[in-house]
Amino acid sequence: MAELTMVQALNLAMREAMAEDPNVLVMGEDVGKDGGVFRVTDGLQEEFGPDRCIDTPLAEAAIAGTAIGLTFRGFKPLIEFQFDGFSFQAFHHVEGHVRRFRNRTRGRYTCPMVIRMPYGGGIRALEHHSEAPEATYAHLAGLKVVLPSGPRNARALLRSAILSPDPVVFFEPKALYRAFREEVPDEPETLPIGKGQVARAGKDVTLISYAATLRATLDAAEELADEHDIDAEVLDLLSVSPIDEDLINESVRKTGRVVVVHEAPRHCGVGAEVVARIVEKSLLYLEAPIRRVTGYDTIIPFFANEKTWLPDAGKVVQATVETVNF
């Protein structure tokens, strides 16, 4: 067991996979010598050579587009977009090919690859460096969309994503990259993609979140317990496509009250899907409207004001208290 940051844990998962399978490639802008702008791929080029950990010219569409061709030849590319905001340069390949080839060719070509990118706000970065586009990708059938919330599940989920026969969009919450360390077992482990977890058991209300806002939500749960005598159950979705509908409904049927928390803008965000799944399956258990504590339907502000914009524990506490007292 070692105490690792999320960056180290992700690095470990890739190193393990590259050592096990010569078909695993890492590619992207500055992933090689530089080890990635967040150092997530640090040392991989040194260890596996420039043909396994590949620095590419500056073109996201070509990174994704050429990776598609590599999958046809049996490679498993782990591509990195340097920031969430630049994944859109490649959107037509992800939408138009990566998620479609299996269906289009009835399984002949399947595009198994991992599309990694730093995700979300909170690190005082420039415009286009703080986006949270998980709903955009979750709406695209054929992809799986994963968001870890800590070093240990990051390592396990990345391994699962690499082993997955399906393309996986893997969002790495950059606010958590170095936020804390966690014990990570020596042996590789996996986590099933599409399953969430109970991050904190409780009985009064269900708080549903994922990625970086899971931390704010857990903080809120402590504050709710300490100061409001509210025992919140906190769910960590870990994956938003597929989404763990059973986990959600099980908890909701117990508590009858729900707050959904994510940093992406609210309108047509994943929070809405969570609400819809609850209404479809557990409407009659609901004792209060479901509140969404999310990013606002604006552009996330340049960094001087981003903290105001992002969901935080205080916002979650307020919404939860109102939900419980409804």
Binding site: A64, T66, I68, G69, K281, L284
Partner: protein, 374 residues
């Protein structure tokens, strides 16, 4: 510190061997075995006939919108001929002759235009990609395929086709740049058929040739008569050999013409004159090739009649195959992931219940505490 010209190190060439009257430049004439010449003609003819039948079937409402390839049979065929079976072929959507050469069942082609994914379920063991609809996006996965050849150190080559319109897309540019940076065995063929739907070649780009776009990547390139099978075979052999030998990507501009409408949904009368089309009818690659073979005594009326009969039979059979193809109404759920997710399974059950009546357990599936169905 003078002001001086920079010499370009790359070269452009023009190649034409068999003219529109069937005259051949003997110095340049490629060596092709007689049997191969006949087979090439056979495939070109078969492509033409299948294309014509598709057009007819579209008019009869038996397939959907159809995009004909009439007059563009020579270039894909020349390249397919020069390729090895294990080489990779990445088409756009007017490369029927290459599919035919490489042994695709004709029925699959009909199924594609008939609106079923089976048409792009590439036969196992055939290193081809299906028709690609988003213009120029295929350039990028072709580059990835070629890159794999280099990374695997096998000696396969990837041949990719794109249209004149496709060269305007960023995908074309990025793929060419990657291809030259990594020096991969990619042969990129631009079929300049002078039109992108209604946009004439003159408005697609201001560069006098498409070939010279290669200079942007530090490459040589060639313009060839894309309606001349001999030029196509020659250019294909050379470029594929260079690519295979590690000389990196190759760019070929094949000059041809879209004789027909863009697709059957298109009406070229809206944007071009008959006079523009007329001279191109005389440059038909099939007629020219026929003349060449007749001059060489490799073709006569009898052989041709036989060929036509065999081809008709094969196409008839393909149509029978197509028209008897069983559509599975639920198959679209099956190939989204290797294993169907529970969510998709539930949606499939929903659809089945709708089409076939509710399955026994449906009424309880909603899971709300009080459930009462009518």
């Amino acid at each position: 510190m003078p002001r001086e010209a920079i010499e370009l190190t790359n070269k452009l060439e023009n190649l034409s061997i068999l003219d529109q009257d069937g005259n051949v430049d003997e110095a340049l004439e490629p060596k092709i075995a007689d049997a191969d010449l006949r087979k090439l003609y056979n495939v070109m003819l078969k492509t033409r006939r299948l294309d014509e039948r598709c057009l007819m079937m579209q008019r009869q409402g038996r397939i959907g919108t159809y995009g004909p390839c009439k007059g563009q049979e020579a270039t894909p065929l020349g390249f397919a001929y020069a390729m090895q079976a294990e080489d990779w072929f990445v088409p756009s959507y007017r490369e029927l002759s290459a599919y035919v050469w490489r042994g695709w069942p004709l029925g699959k082609y009909l199924v594609w235009w008939g609106g079923n994914e089976y048409g792009s379920a590439v036969p196992e063991g055939v290193n081809d990609l299906p028709i690609c609809v988003p213009i120029a996006s295929q350039c990028q996965y072709a580059m990835g395929i070629a890159w794999a050849s280099k990374l695997r150190q096998d000696d396969t080559v990837c041949v990719c086709f794109v249209g004149d319109g496709g060269t305007s897309q960023g995908d074309f540019h990025e793929a060419m740049n990657f291809a030259t940076v990594y020096n991969v065995p990619l042969v990129m063929v631009v079929q300049n058929n002078h039109w992108a739907i209604s946009l004439p070649r003159s408005k697609q780009t201001a560069s006098p040739t498409f070939a010279q776009k290669a200079i942007a990547y530090g490459m040589d390139a060639m313009v060839i008569d894309g309606n001349d099978i001999l030029s196509c075979v020659t250019a294909a052999r050379e470029s594929i050999k260079k690519a295979r030998d590690g000389q990196g990507p190759q760019l070929i501009e094949a000059t041809t013409y879209r004789i027909m409408m863009h697709t059957t949904a298109d009406d070229p009368k809206k944007y071009r004159s008959e006079e523009e089309v007329a001279p191109w009818l005389k440059k038909d690659p099939l007629i020219r090739f026929e003349t060449y073979l007749r001059n060489k005594k490799l073709l006569d009326d009898k052989i041709q009649k036989l060929m036509e009969e065999e081809i008709k039979k094969e196409i008839d059979e393909a149509i029978v195959f197509y028209e008897n193809y069983k559509h599975d109404p639920y198959e679209f759920f099956e190939h989204m992931y290797q294993e169907m997710t529970p969510e998709l399974a539930a949606q499939l059950a929903e659809l089945k219940a709708y089409r076939e009546g509710p399955a026994p357990e449906v009424s309880a599936s909603n899971g709300n505490p009080q459930v009462s169905h009518a």
